[in-house]
Symmetry: none
Subunit: 232 residues, 2 copies
DNA sequence: GGGCTTGATGACATTTAGGTGACAAACCGT
DNA sequence: ACGGTTTGTCACCTAAATGTCATCAAGCCC
């Protein structure tokens, strides 16, 4: 995404913490963009495409758990939570809502930096960004969040895109119900296979010539779905 | 690797912590394998292919940072560090050595569980790899759940696939009735050999040129079935 | 505020796979 | 060759898995 300096979206209302992070992280080679509340944070996520999110749990407009869940619906970006609350229950809730790490105040800039680096390492070992995937007449640009069928761009909703990107990342292999449900809706929904039927149906409707006889989005009964690999 | 239960390699010398983790994590759906020192831990990493590593920094034989670095050389597996030391400098060193997370003792089993889940979420977004098994004109890709005969893909139902994978995993050797029945239908069906006849019949129908004279799926009368190994 | 898009949910239709019994064929020792 | 045993095949029924349609609530963009 940003080869030179990784971009952190900092969602934090407290001025003091913001200044502290801005200088300390800035010196360690990150670029910081800031939001003072949950709403602006979410919209900046869409517009500015940061590499990481650092989120304070105590925001003025929304509670932190909801922001986390919403972030997860919108993107797979790594999220590190900052919070004054150190009770185990708070940490569990945040992590289960989709956060990747949880750090309690007060904390040192060095530790935060190392934890962010660790997250970035992980994500960079994942799928390569900004690569065009193609199978048959279907093209998917994961980085740009764009999908083409017969060179015509198709409108894709966030959930549809996340399902599709799971399939693209392991094209030819089966994505299990379990995997798709946990990655998109969270571990507590592994039984809601209904969701998959609905959204896979919508994807087929948009991408397949004949949704009843899919060429790309294949069903593996009892297991999951598979993106078929075809020649161009 | 293990689709049902993720496997944790626990490298920890303290007996008490080991027992604590074994019971508390075991109840949350993980499978735990244990090593008492760094050397065994590293060798178990190679042999047992766990999904995650939980590593105590204070081991008898090697210092924790070296173990972490060595782990990183060997694999991309997620590593969570446990340690009694809570100084920032220790955390930074461990994280920079390649660890993904760092948790200080004492800690709650719930938090550890959620942190491990978070790591697993991340890693599951990588690429699975597939291996091809081949005998004669029959090819089986277990990871991709695909079966080919004469380079033509064959549709396989879940039960058929499970039977076939048992045979593939021990190609050339006999899979007993008992083994197949317990693995696919559960131990309470060891007498329902009828099931095997039906589904082996269906597999032959799909895979054999002449199902009456099978070249691949051979019957071992009174014992079980065997997948014949041929040259390509 | 009002139209539009998206996500969630329930009811229902459709497709596919699993289980069952009857019977045929192959095998094995005598 | 014979009878009992083991294995294979067929057709059918049922249950489970999947797909579709319609609807409602919430958020978003003018």
């Amino acid at each position: 995404m940003n080869p030179s300096k990784p971009v952190i979206l900092l969602i934090e209302d407290d001025q003091q913490t913001r200044r502290f992070l801005k200088t300390s992280l800035g010196h360690k080679g990150w670029r910081i963009i800031e939001a003072g509340d949950g709403k602006t944070g979410l919209s900046m996520l869409k517009n500015d495409k940061p590499d990481l999110v650092v989120l304070d749990l105590g925001l003025p407009d929304m509670d932190g758990i909801s922001v986390t869940k919403r972030l997860r619906q919108l993107s797979d970006i790594p999220v590190l939570i900052l919070s004054a609350r150190s009770q185990e229950q708070n940490k569990i809730m945040a992590l289960d809502a989709g956060a990747d790490d949880y750090l309690t105040k007060p904390f040192g800039a060095g530790e935060l930096n190392s934890r962010l680096q660790a997250l970035l390492r992980r994500i960079n070992r994942g799928y390569p960004v900004s690569e065009l995937f193609q199978t048959g007449q279907l093209k998917v640009d994961l980085a740009a969040r764009k999908v083409f069928i017969n060179n015509q761009e198709v409108n894709i909703t966030p959930i549809e895109f996340r399902l599709l990107s799971i399939l693209v990342r392991q094209a030819g292999l089966v994505a299990t119900h379990r995997q798709m449900l946990t990655e998109v809706w969270g571990a507590e929904h592994i039984n809601d296979q209904h969701y998959l039927r609905i959204y896979m149906g919508q994807l087929r409707h948009k991408l397949e010539i004949n949704p009843a006889r899919p060429r790309y989005l294949l069903t593996e009964i009892g297991v999951g779905y598979r993106l078929a690999v075809h020649e161009a």
